[in-house]
Symmetry: C2
Subunit: 211 residues, 2 copies
């Protein structure tokens, strides 16, 4: 389990980490309103007032967990390298995001839930930080297109398509598993999924020399 600390004492560092790990699990499963402080406290192995000693309000826990997840989610996007080979960079990014969906579905779900309900806690972040970053990467994609290294596609919608598809496997996991043939949901299922969608996606954006 990932932990995060940054504050004062030794005990505070430990306990904040424990609380945030527990909170991620609970919030991502039941949503903000659907989760109770008692639930988180129990999962964290401490009393409710003790938990409230570290995070005075339920919302404080939620916002902190959310901020932590946001970083996981953005790092691979930042890593898209303008100087790399376009197809290879987008392949790497997609694979990375699929890995995250497999490894940390809770983060993805927490985030999805927040957006789904209108992003009350992070709307500002979306409009400033995220927008800035997306604009930047859209610019990179546009450049690649103008260099003939990518088919002429809308960069923003391409980005959305990658986000939507990769996160689908974390957020809609229950549905995916309910629908997919039994034998395909084992072991390297996420790798297979990544291959399949890359097969479609990359052929969809490869420069079109024919016709």
């Amino acid at each position: 389990m990932a932990s995060s600390n940054n504050k004062r004492t030794r005990i505070q560092g430990i306990n904040r980490g424990i609380i945030l790990d527990a909170a991620l699990e609970v919030f991502s499963t039941y949503g903000f309103r659907g989760s109770t402080i008692d639930q988180i406290a129990e999962k964290a192995g401490m009393s409710k007032p003790n938990l409230l000693y570290y995070f005075p309000r339920k919302e404080d826990i939620y916002v902190t967990v959310l901020e932590n997840t946001l970083e996981d989610w953005l790092t691979p996007f930042r890593d898209i390298d303008p100087d790399g080979d376009p197809i290879e960079e987008l392949r790497k990014y997609t694979v990375h995001k699929m890995k995250l969906s497999a490894l940390r579905p809770e983060s993805s779900r927490l985030f999805a839930n927040e957006i789904l309900h209108g992003a009350p806690a992070i709307q500002e972040f979306l409009k400033t930080n995220l927008k800035r970053l997306v604009d930047e990467k859209a610019g990179v994609i546009k450049l690649w297109i103008s260099q003939g290294k990518l088919a002429p596609v809308d960069p923003y919608h391409l980005i959305f398509m990658i986000w939507a598809t990769t996160q689908h496997y974390a957020d809609f996991d229950v549905q995916v598993r309910a629908v997919l043939p039994e034998e395909t949901t084992n072991g390297d299922f996420f790798d297979d999924a990544a291959d399949s969608i890359l097969n479609i996606l990359l052929n969809g954006i490869r420069p079109r020399h024919n016709v």
Copy 2:
């Protein structure tokens, strides 16, 4: 507003419809736990006990609304025609789903929320009805591929990709609008989005005669 009725008296038909319309709005915005019966009753313009006269428990309202939405969501999928042109059929389906995302984002969000939280109310439906339907359509796509009318792609993941991408525009609307350049989120925004993703998707699955 869409209404549904099927029960006894005239008044019951009317009021159940009003309640379900109100409930869809409330549930899709705040989720099941986040919504209160009072909220729904107020939006429906009646007292809480009156509402409970029609639907004895909160869950009854929720399940009914969910069942209704499920149909909207499946109809265009059923309509994919095995005898049509594959590219054209999948184009039509994708456009149809994008239209639904634009017109009835609440339905999409209600559904997304349900799945996100583990589909407590419709897991059985997913494993039986939905699975059956998806298997059938996957079979159609496989046939198309074997006839050389489509590139060899995994039919299940292709379906997921279309679902994920189209629903993204309803479910993640806040994020999409926060990130997209101001001038592109007006008027025929959803049409533009549909064009963009079809541009990528259809080229990704068109039979590959070159190389």
